[in-house]
């Protein structure tokens, strides 16, 4: 309080003047204005650091093989052409991988979301016997995990090696998502609704299906997209559990094409042309495989923000 008195005069004088700005806004001093210039420079730099590599990839993907191979593309396509995309879309391994990834993402998300709701909803009900023990059991898996080989042995023992289930089941539930869903159910579903439903004679399942889930659409969207994108982007399970190439998800195909990279060719001219085409294809491939994620991304960005906030609510 003592500090405020010294500066009283200014704010009091203000209302009498005609308002130039909204009253809630901070009146910037000169130091503040210099500071704000710094803030804008910082953020613009950050924006460019993120944006430029992405723009370079997209621009390259629309350029000619020779321009890409010669390193002549920066932020705008050179010798605009679609041959990179034509090559990508006529490659069987890529198409199979794409289809497989769609399957893993869709089925995996359905399984994961169902299982997450099935555990998170009962755990959000305080009258559940053994609730604390179960929550502890879920949370402990965030601190300590079985590890690579011990998990591999379980998958092998179940006969899931080299099947589609090996991609979906071992990572079906993420403890973090259970926590988010549980917090949401507990904080966003009013207890009065449950009491009313009980008076109407609705069973627990009926209540979950007809009241809780319709009220939880934002939550379901968030966890579905987190699982979906996670599944779309992962290659680890496939690397470990799959042998048959016709089951490979896109990411594993991409790894072989983009990183392990084995291009051959008999004579020098062929080799050069093949090399140039391979260079271009990599850029187009990156764009093609990221498009599905980027298509849903703006649509869900705000939901994601909400999801992170849900997760940040402690307790």
């Amino acid at each position: 309080m003592t500090l405020t008195t010294a500066h009283r005069a200014e704010p009091e004088a203000e209302p009498r003047k005609p308002k130039r700005r909204k009253s809630t806004q901070v009146q910037d001093t000169r130091v503040d204005r210099v500071f704000m210039v710094g803030v804008y420079i910082l953020l613009t730099t950050f924006l460019l650091v993120v944006l430029v590599p992405l723009a370079n990839i997209v621009a390259s993907s629309f350029s000619s093989p020779a321009a890409v191979s010669g390193g002549r593309v920066f932020l705008w396509p050179v010798d605009f052409t679609l041959v990179g995309y034509e090559a990508v879309l006529s490659n069987d391994a890529i198409l199979t991988g794409f289809a497989n990834s769609v399957f893993y993402a869709v089925v995996g998300t359905l399984v994961s979301v169902s299982l997450t709701v099935m555990i998170a909803y009962p755990l959000s009900r305080t009258e559940l016997v053994g609730r604390k023990v179960l929550i502890g059991g879920v949370l402990f898996t965030m601190l300590f995990s079985g590890g690579l080989i011990p998990t591999y042995m379980v998958v092998r023992a179940l006969g899931l090696l080299d099947t589609r289930w090996a991609i979906i089941l071992p990572t079906a539930i993420a403890a973090w998502q259970v926590l988010i869903a549980m917090t949401f159910f507990r904080s966003s579903i009013p207890g009065e609704l449950y009491e009313a439903a009980q008076l109407d004679g609705a069973s627990d399942l009926r209540f979950l299906w007809s009241v809780v889930l319709p009220l939880s659409k934002p939550l379901l969207a968030v966890i579905a997209l987190m699982y979906g994108i996670g599944q779309w982007n992962s290659y680890f399970s496939a690397l470990i559990y799959l042998r048959s190439e016709d089951l490979y998800p896109l990411q594993l195909v991409l790894r072989d094409l983009l990183i392990v990279n084995n291009s051959g060719g008999s004579n020098l001219a062929d080799q050069l042309a093949a090399q140039q085409m391979a260079d271009l294809m990599k850029f187009s491939l990156i764009v093609v495989s990221t498009v599905p994620v980027l298509l849903v991304y703006p649509f869900v960005a705000r939901h994601f923000t909400k999801g992170v906030m849900l997760g940040s609510v402690k307790g």
Binding site: G71, M118, F144, L258, L294
Partner: protein
């Protein structure tokens, strides 16, 4: 008296279970998941103390005590692995921890909504790009032949293929991680900043605080609990540094720095099929990690009063 109470409680519980049987039925499948894919693997770690062979199985194989651990530490590679793992994560922590906080504080100052939105949308985006793609982008962009970054670096007088340089491996790994995650990690701090009591800003304004002082005296204390939680989580995952990216960035040239515990476990476990040794190494890693997490949490609770539980 106690017996009566206990019995009554048990009866009440039975009534509860019978009345809400559907809730318990829902739990069956997810609980089965946790048992099969989380807790049985934990139990399978017992083979770290056995000479596992397929014929005798997990429980039938002969005990080996700490032989596999001794075998691991007797190998000079062990210390390289531990050093590589720790250095990589500590570097990652030191570089990756402050950036999202700075980003969030800066964004919080911006009033121009369009600019703010644009920065947010763009900087979140890399989070959703897969590791395979990020590594491919690195390889392409830093390629001396086709990448524009090679030209940029040439301009500054750095003239080498970063991805083949073992000494550059950690920087490439860490800063590409910052590139990918800083925007998204800032969300949690933005949320915390949004939750700060507006009357504090009002008070700061009446006190004539500059923006910088306002950040120092209102924003930072406001997000401190969040910062602590994030810090504990990141220190707690120091040894859990991911397999995915290190494995993809590895090549024969940078192996001296890029071989970490996770990639080594994969190689001896699945490529050389030495299950017991791989499990021992993995278990060592998980236990150190758990101890670190518990230690940081305890210290943080003492010092700041904030912890994970």
């Amino acid at each position: 008296m106690d017996v009566m109470n206990g019995e009554r409680r048990r009866a009440a519980r039975m009534r509860n279970v019978r009345r809400h049987w559907q809730l318990y039925a829902l739990l069956v499948l997810p609980v089965a998941y946790f048992v099969i894919f989380q807790y049985i693997p934990m139990a399978n770690n017992v083979i770290a103390f056995k000479d596992y062979n397929v014929v005798q199985g997990i429980w039938g194989s002969p005990w080996a005590g700490f032989d596999h651990f001794e075998r691991f530490f007797a190998n000079p590679v062990a210390w390289d692995l531990i050093r590589n793992t720790l250095m990589l994560s500590l570097y990652g922590f030191l570089a990756g921890f402050p950036v999202p906080i700075i980003l969030a504080l800066a964004l919080n100052e911006v009033r121009a909504r369009f600019f703010k939105r644009t920065v947010q949308m763009v900087t979140y985006a890399p989070h959703f790009i897969s590791t395979v793609i990020v590594v491919s982008m690195l390889i392409l962009v830093f390629s001396p032949r086709i990448g524009f970054m090679a030209d940029v670096m040439g301009f500054f007088g750095v003239d080498s293929n970063l991805l083949a340089d073992p000494d550059a491996f950690r920087s490439v790994y860490v800063w590409s991680d910052v590139w990918q995650t800083a925007g998204y990690s800032a969300i949690i701090y933005m949320a915390a900043l949004a939750g700060i009591d507006p009357s504090l800003y009002e008070a700061a304004r009446l006190d004539g605080a500059s923006r910088l002082r306002k950040i120092w005296h209102v924003d930072l204390p406001g997000i401190a609990p969040t910062v602590v939680v994030v810090m504990i989580l990141s220190v707690g995952s120091v040894m859990a540094i991911g397999f995915e990216k290190a494995f993809l960035l590895q090549n024969p040239l940078n192996l001296s720095q890029s071989e970490i515990i996770a990639t080594y476990t994969y190689k001896i476990g699945l490529l050389s099929a030495d299950f017991s040794l791989a499990t021992a190494v993995g278990l060592f890693n998980s236990v150190i990690n758990l101890i670190l997490l518990l230690a940081v949490n305890t210290v943080s609770k003492r010092v700041t009063g904030n912890g994970l539980w």
